[in-house]
């Protein structure tokens, strides 16, 4: 068990390192002088030189990377050239909003996905099954920004039940969370359904029935518990995707979250902000994935024994 945990954590650090290298290289791969990019074209040559020295851009690449990494670990992700404030501060300011939407979306997607998946599996090959299958597939294929737009059109602009843009009251969160949950909900639903069907066909389930266990116990304890194992790992993976999905959803609903921050930073060519936000989101993604894997290991004894 310990071996597995240490291995996974080691791999996590490797992935984080790799991601930081990629994000760091991003600026340096852009054609043009990074100092000029940060200073702005209108800056006179002395200002550009000053920026070059300040950011250490005149030093060899690996030294720059080292300071980039150590700075990031200390919490210094640079200063936004557009807004003149530290990148980390801005990210942290906006984080609660984005996290609420992402976590809310995950919970909704998981709840909805599992419930419908189980429903479909239990009523296999009947009307409920077909309905859920089609619905889940549709949800998984719909672009989140279109879903958001349509929901906004119907529930906000036409019916007026919910506010459409911005984030100020709890009601503002409803549409973004539902939109974000759509795609993942569909995927989780299908996953649950197939896992559940798998399990229901297994020998031990039939054996339990043969033993005379009540139907609901069979399903709840034997089938459901085991079927949920792979689903858990999917949920963990989906959270990362949901976090990234906030980029699109926040654009639709004009929400001032971390996703919007990244998009605006890209549009304004605010390179320190782009780097900082990417590093942050990717970092969270990697950590969550590792946590999910570890949880999966805890939950499914088979994984532990095999050691990967």
């Amino acid at each position: 068990m310990l071996r597995y945990v240490t291995r996974r954590i080691l791999e996590m650090f490797l992935a984080l390192l790799g991601t930081s290298i990629l994000v760091f290289l991003m600026i340096h791969l852009i054609p043009g002088d990074p100092a000029l990019l940060v200073a702005g074209l209108e800056a006179g040559p002395e200002v550009v030189e000053q920026i070059r020295r300040e950011l250490g851009l005149d030093q060899p690449l690996y030294i720059q990377y080292w300071s980039f990494l150590t700075d990031a670990l200390r919490g210094d992700l640079g200063t936004s050239i557009r807004m003149n404030i530290p990148v980390l501060e801005e990210i942290v300011d906006r984080l609660p909003i984005t996290l609420t939407i992402a976590v809310g979306g995950t919970i909704l997607a998981t709840l909805f996905g599992i419930v419908t998946g189980v429903l479909a599996a239990v009523h296999h090959n009947r009307f409920q099954d077909a309905l859920v299958m089609v619905g889940a597939l549709l949800a998984a294929s719909t672009p989140s920004y279109w879903l958001g737009l349509m929901l906004m059109l119907v529930f906000s602009l036409s019916l007026g039940w919910l506010p459409s843009i911005g984030i100020r009251t709890p009601a503002h969160y409803v549409l973004p969370i539902v939109t974000l949950a759509g795609q993942s909900g569909g995927i989780i639903s299908r996953m649950t359904r197939s896992a559940m069907l798998d399990v229901l066909g297994q020998d031990y389930v039939r054996a339990a029935r043969a033993r005379g266990q009540r139907e609901r116990v069979v399903i709840a304890r034997h089938a459901l518990e085991n079927a949920l194992i792979p689903v858990i790992s999917i949920v963990g993976l989906r959270f990362g995707n949901l976090l990234a999905g906030t980029v699109l959803v926040e654009s639709v609903f004009a929400i001032p979250g971390v996703g919007r921050l990244l998009v605006d930073a890209v549009l304004w060519r605010d390179y320190p902000m782009i780097q900082g936000t990417m590093l942050f989101v990717a970092g969270v993604f990697v950590v969550v994935n590792t946590a999910t894997d570890l949880l999966y290991g805890v939950v499914d004894p088979r994984i532990r024994v095999a050691g990967d």
Binding site: L14, M26, W146, V247, V252, L262, V263, M278, A282
Partner: protein, 280 residues
Amino acid sequence: MTVRSGALRRFFDSKIAVASALVILGFAVMAVFAPLLSPYGPLEQDLANNYGGPSPKHPLGTDELGRDTLSRLVHGSRVSLGIAVASVLIGVLVGAVLGLVAAYYRGLVDSIIMRTMDVLLALPGILLGIAIVVVLGNGVMNTVIAVAVFSVPTFARLVRGSALAILELDYIVASRAVGASAARILFGHVVPNSLTPLVVQSTLQLGSAILIASGLSFLGLGVQPPNPEWGAMLSKGRELVRSTPVAAFAPGMAITLVVLSFSLLGDGLRDAFDPKLKRR
């Protein structure tokens, strides 16, 4: 070969799979014959008739510059499908090569390649796309590259897994011992046997490719105006959602339909090729 012919029969047995294949075919025809099928040019402006709702002359209305939405939708299929196909193709080729190399040579080469793939997979699709657009800039070509990079790791993993399994087989090991060349083994044995999962995955990946590409354009980062691309049209439709809602509805419907069809097609192919996996 018997697997194949059985597969074909099983495929056509499934009505859904056939239906989705037909839908894809329909869009492909639309893309290829776009100039013939659309009543107006995609860039043809008619300022006096802008913001028009659906009408006999313009079944889906007109956009802010008086361009026919239907024609732009049809031409948009060219752009969207073209980007998807091109990027997945590149992804398959590059990914397959990487996977084959990793599987054949094992050891350090394998580790390096697969670790890099893992790092690429560490970034969610849309973020990777954004990162590449930041470095390379906007435009159609760079969008293709962005989506291709997103696809590569999946295919590399797939091919590597498949190749590893095949390379373990006795007769392959024997061939290598006797001195058969890498190329012969790889292309003669590994590739043909990896084809079916590759085809299935490509089809599924096409759906994701369209979602990512149109997502980037929606954010203003991918395809630039005045190119008709479904995601970009959706972005404009967002601004027009109160005055002409059809401008927001149509492109999204198109994207959903195409992605749905690719998913169903991929599922159908998978079930056809390997009925053991099929869920009754």
